[in-house]
Structures are given as C-alpha cells and as structure tokens.
C-alpha cells in the first residue's frame, strides 16, 4: 500500500432498492477533501451500481470484490441476501480487510433491521449504528 492510497478518504454507502440508506465518509484526521472530490467520489459509487445489479443473479456470492476501478480508486461491493448493497470506495485496501469489514457491517446492519422502528428500505438515522460502523471502519480500514 503506497503512502498516498492509505491517506485517501474512504466512502462507504448502504444502498436499498431505490436510494442510499446510509453514507459514511472516512478521512484521516488533519486532512480535508475538497467538495469537488467528495462529489466525484459519490458519483463513482453510484456509477458502480449498474455493475453490482448485473452480478446480483449471475453469481451467488455475497462478497463481490472489486466492481469498478478508476485510476487508483477502487469500488468494492457486497450484496446481502435481502439485496441491500454495501459499496466501499477506497484507494487499494487489501481484499481481506475489506471483506472482513463488510461481514462485520452486515451483522451490525441486520441487528439494526431487527428494530421495529427501522424499515427495510428506510434511511438509517441511528447514532448508535453510526458510532459502531465508524469504529468498524477504524478497526479494519485504517
């Protein structure tokens, strides 16, 4: 991993049937990302949704590995049995750490869905969920 890629900000998104349900940006403390880069990152993630949709029925795997690659930015994806999509835009983290991150997030996500106040296609607004997800990000992705 080059020094540059480990400093690049990460963007994680959970996407439901029609819209994103949760977004988290991870940045190294002390660095800032310009608004243009942030918008571009979001655009990259959204454009990878087509590739994920194509894989949904052609493979039975949950972890879809790298679905899109632009310059040094990579989009990795994970598809849950409920067809929720986890997308991670990163600058070259190892497959193992990304897969472990997705697996842990999946379990956290299912626990969140068990709450009667959380709809299957509703945005996730729980601070508890956000805190724990960010902790997973720090644990597996930094």
């Amino acid at each position: 991993m080059s020094a540059l890629s480990s400093q690049s900000p990460l963007l994680f998104m959970i996407v439901g049937m029609t819209e994103p349900l949760y977004t988290a940006e991870f940045q190294r403390p002390g660095t800032t990302t310009s608004p243009t880069t942030l918008q571009y990152n979001h655009f990259l993630l959204h454009s990878s949704l087509d590739s994920v949709a194509a894989l949904a029925w052609s493979t039975s795997a949950a972890y879809l590995r790298t679905v899109e690659k632009v310059n040094d930015r990579v989009v990795s994806a994970y598809l849950t049995p409920s067809h929720h999509k986890f997308l991670l835009l990163h600058g070259g983290r190892s497959e193992e750490s990304v897969k472990s991150f997705f697996l842990e997030v999946h379990e956290l996500f299912v626990k969140q869905l068990c709450s009667p106040f959380q709809g299957m296609e509703s945005p996730i607004e729980s601070k508890a969920f956000d805190d724990r997800l960010r902790a997973l990000g720090r644990r597996y992705l930094s």
């Binding site: 949950a62 972890y63 049995p81 409920s82 299912v110 626990k111 709450s115 508890a128």
Partner: protein, 196 residues
C-alpha cells in the same frame, strides 16, 4: 423462536449483543398471548375477511423479511440463494425450524403450473390455539404465516403471492397448505438461470 429469552442482561445495547448466539426458547404461552392481541386488534380494525387476512399477512411479512437475514447470518452462510428451489429449501429447512422449532412437513412443486409451489404443515405453530368462529366464515388466521413466507421470499428477490388453505375436508382440521405463486418475471429468470 424470535429474539431474546429470559435471563439475558438488559444493560448492553441491542447493537452489541451477538447475533449468532442461539437465543433461549420463547414460551409458547407468551407468544400466543401476543399473537391473540394482534389478531383481535386487526379484527376490530378490519371491515371484511379479506381485509382482516391482508392485515395479518402484512404483519407476517415484517417478520419474514427479518427472519431471512437473521437466519442467514446465524447459519454462517456465505452465498445468496439465486434459484427458486434454493430459497424454498432454505425457508423450509432452516428458517422454519428457527421460528417454529420443526421443519416444514413437505415442499412440493405444483403439477399444473410452473409458478406454483406448496409447503405443508400439519399444525402451524402461531395458530395452534386459534379457533375461528363460524361468523367469520372462511377466515384463516394462517394468513400470518403466509405473510412470513411471503416476506422471506420477496425480500430475497422472489416476488410472489402466498395463500393459506386448509388441507382437510370440512375445514375443521389444522393441516394447512401454503400455496406459493411466483410472479412471471421470477419464473422466467429462474428458467434462464437453469439454462446456464
């Protein structure tokens, strides 16, 4: 059955409790009490038998969609089901015991139609104490279990309609057949995948 048993610490946050630890059993009496309140609530709110059954079905769908995911993780599965037979087998041999402590009696494919499948259960657990008064006609409280099945299948990407039918003549027994009718696009997709 679903969720927390007795004796577990309530001081930890729900998001921190391990999902994969098998929970203790929930008492049938406690569940049946809750279910009877649910049925009575919808009986009061509904103005017709179809509306009553649809309300119970919707309640069941909420259960089914979550049950799919919880049991997927508990079984430690790493692959998603992409075929009709696969998801039906996961439902009858993993989710059914997870919810009702027994496997579904049998799973059949419809003879007359490619989109029909049937799940048999001699005595579905949620309605084990239900007795439908004659004034409600052909109302079947197993609409709740139909909803659970529908929730599991729809959430997994297999759109369908599920209805519950009494298997015994005269409608007095508890043997129930759940008829699953998959939508056309699901059948087409499954045939296309078979061809690969």
């Amino acid at each position: 059955m679903l969720q927390a048993g007795t004796g577990r610490s309530t001081s930890s946050h729900p998001l921190d409790r391990p999902l994969s630890r098998r929970p203790g059993e929930v008492s049938l009496a406690a569940f049946t009490l809750l279910f009877s309140e649910l049925v009575q609530l919808h009986q009061v709110r509904s103005s017709s038998v179809p509306e009553f059954e649809a309300a119970l079905c919707d309640a069941g769908r909420q259960v089914g969609s979550r049950a799919l995911q919880v049991h997927w993780i508990r079984e430690g599965k790493k692959t998603r089901e992409t075929r009709i037979l696969g998801i039906l087998q996961f439902l009858s041999s993993t989710i059914w015991p997870g919810l009702f402590n027994k496997k579904a009696d049998s799973l059949e494919r419809g003879v007359s139609s490619k989109s029909e499948y049937m799940i048999h259960d001699a005595n579905p657990l949620p309605t084990v104490f239900c007795e439908v008064p004659r004034s409600l006609g052909g109302m079947n409280p197993n609409a709740f279990v139909s909803g659970i099945i529908q929730g599991v299948l729809e959430t997994a990407g297999f759109g369908c309609d599920v209805t519950a039918h009494r298997a015994d003549e005269g409608g007095s027994g508890t043997r129930t057949v759940f008829l699953v009718n998959f939508h056309d696009d699901v059948v087409e997709r499954d045939e296309m995948l078979e061809g690969r």
